[in-house]
Subunit: 382 residues, 2 copies
């Protein structure tokens, strides 16, 4: 069956990217590779909005989070981990695994982090680093990153940011917002397959790196930077994803980052309005709803596993379940990356058909109609 | 220009593999992925010749080496690193970076490791782990892995093996040879692009893992195994390379591992005979010459950068330089993975034409003729 992949990563890849993956291998020490890497780093800097370093590691985003921690901290360093869901928790676990003295400031799932409370926590116990999640993939929350980062800087903490599912769907400005380290993952709004993580590093993070004694080799910033300065890598790079990145950077340039943010916000709004029209409970605080994905709670009496099965098997629409304790209490619709209005409409139509088939009282077309109105309003506002 | 990639990795990919890379993304938590991963793990176990665990990490082979070390050792543990080139040295550096007390037993570049001397070194100072290189990519040496591993076991050391450029080109039997951890890399004889490392783990390594206190998260064996037992992964897998792996495992099954070893030995022999017919100095001890690549020393008066440039720009044949101190004193021809006689003949023809063009006294056709004779003899022997 024709399938529509509407999960918060891996996201659908444009044909142009998929075709690029199939290019024959090249010598990663030769002139063709060197020119490619130079071009990619320049493109990444434009997307991160930084004039400082961006490194590429052949790994998933989790590897980038490990790199952020292990390169800037020493065992025993006090860290404040601000968590609003499963990925904030993962960031904290990584810091613990490498020996940091981690204190968590956890907000309820579905809520955003409160900068005021972060400031209080940092005043109570100073931290060497503040771990922040830009967009929490498990709950569909977009944190107020500039405000949180400002609080961290005011208290002298190094600001390490997980923006794996945030960047490109939402605005992020590494230099203007003074973000010391930012981590991204290829399989999200970048529109390329999993296998690469991108890490931006500003001067204060490099200073911290000089003193940082956590164990590292594969993810070592110095080794990677030294190689990249010579247009090389310290070990073999993941060529297919790099070929894909060239295409996706070109597409991002064609669309423009601001246009991408607006598109994501518009599609996210349509999904929320469509879900609400079906009487479904939106999980995330609407004031901080993510432009990248929408988490929806279980409607009374509806089995979410069965709902997802129907969507997949009867309508070819693949959505995600919840994570951790919310595994069967939430479903999540991804709308980041290479996603258009047509995908949103098709997903909402499949959702309402599946729900009606399961006995949920809703009018056929209600969700789609609400989404169409939301899209029209967003156009009128633009 | 049509290009022939004859470096020791990344290696050329079969069309069937390249096409598989372009498959649209799928849900890595869904039934299709779960079935794929089960199939891949079963196939990997056949190639590693093990009934125990094989894990897949989305990373380069260097990441697999880090995993081998960080999962089985604690800071301060005594380690003996047997080095015969740049990659043995890298393995030792990783162990040092994670706090092991590393002693090196270094053999001259171009020589194989002597099991007797390894035994003496282990008798002199017992080691918790013995780090071994199966096939040294920087020099073209194939170590006597079963003999070296036996010595390690006799002295009670855990045997950690880098077989990144060895497996499939050369025989390796994880269970029969009692190899505690073996690390492989996708971009070598596996015929798929870089981006995956495979790690086999036998029961003694799992026991050591229980006590191992080195820092790890991304490469943690327990986290990966627990996920893989449920046909899942702890973070997003590198899907294109996994799609490619399915094809390459099928091709390996069609050819047969024994046939693959014979093919690699035959092609390697032809390269050595061809190079010798040109009067070029073979770098590696002929008794331990690698079936995966051949390193050749600089002929008197020939600039190797210029030689490689001519091969690439005039004949479309891409070969590698040397590594470390041998960067411009060696060139290396890769003949592992998806390589056939036709590639060897074309490479040798380009080599002799380039050398003759640079004033080296050789007869046109001499290298190709010698290679043809070697291939014919190998066929007659078979």
């Amino acid at each position: 069956m024709k399938s529509l992949l509407m999960i918060p990563g891996p996201t659908p890849c444009p044909d142009r990217v998929l075709r690029a993956l199939s290019q024959p291998m090249i010598n990663h020490r030769g002139p063709e590779y060197m020119a490619l890497q130079r071009e990619l780093i320049a493109g990444l800097k434009r997307v991160f909005r930084t004039e400082h370093d961006v490194l590429i590691f052949p790994a998933s985003g989790t590897g980038g989070l490990e790199a952020a921690v292990a390169n800037t901290l020493s065992p025993g360093d006090p860290v404040l981990a601000v968590t609003v869901g499963a990925f904030g928790e993962r960031f904290a676990e990584i810091a613990e695994a490498f020996g940091a003295d981690v204190r968590r400031l956890a907000f309820d799932w579905g809520q955003a982090a409160d900068p005021g409370r972060v400031g209080e926590a940092l005043a109570e116990r100073p931290a060497r680093s503040l771990l922040l999640t830009h967009n929490e993939t498990s709950t569909g929350i977009l944190n107020d990153l500039p405000a949180l980062a400002r609080v961290g800087r005011e208290h002298g903490a190094l600001v390490l940011v997980d923006s794996i599912s945030g960047m490109i769907a939402a605005d992020l400005q590494a230099d203007a917002w003074d973000l010391d380290v930012v981590v991204a993952g290829s399989q999200k709004a970048w529109m390329i397959p999993p296998g690469l993580t991108f890490v931006s590093i500003r001067p204060r993070a490099w200073e911290a790196h000089q003193q940082a004694r956590m164990a590292r080799f594969y993810f070592d910033f110095t080794r990677m930077k030294r190689s990249m300065e010579r247009d090389q890598t310290p070990y073999t790079p993941a060529l297919p994803q790099l070929f894909g990145l060239r295409e996706s950077l070109a597409m991002l340039q064609e669309e423009g980052l601001e246009a991408s943010f607006r598109r994501h916000a518009r599609l996210a709004g349509a999904v929320r309005r469509g879900a609400a029209a079906l009487g479904l409970p939106l999980f995330a605080d609407p004031a901080h709803a993510s432009p990248a994905l929408t988490a929806v709670g279980a409607p009374a009496g509806i089995d979410l596993r069965e709902l997802r099965r129907r969507l997949r098997e009867q309508h070819g629409v693949v959505i995600a379940g919840g994570q951790g304790a919310y595994q069967d209490r939430l479903f999540r619709i991804g709308h980041l990356g290479y996603v258009a209005e047509s995908d949103i409409v098709a997903t909402l139509a499949a959702l309402e058909r599946s729900l009606i088939g399961m006995g949920w009282g809703a009018e056929p077309g209600a969700a789609v109609a609400a989404a169409e109105r939301a899209l029209a309003e967003a156009e009128a506002d633009a």
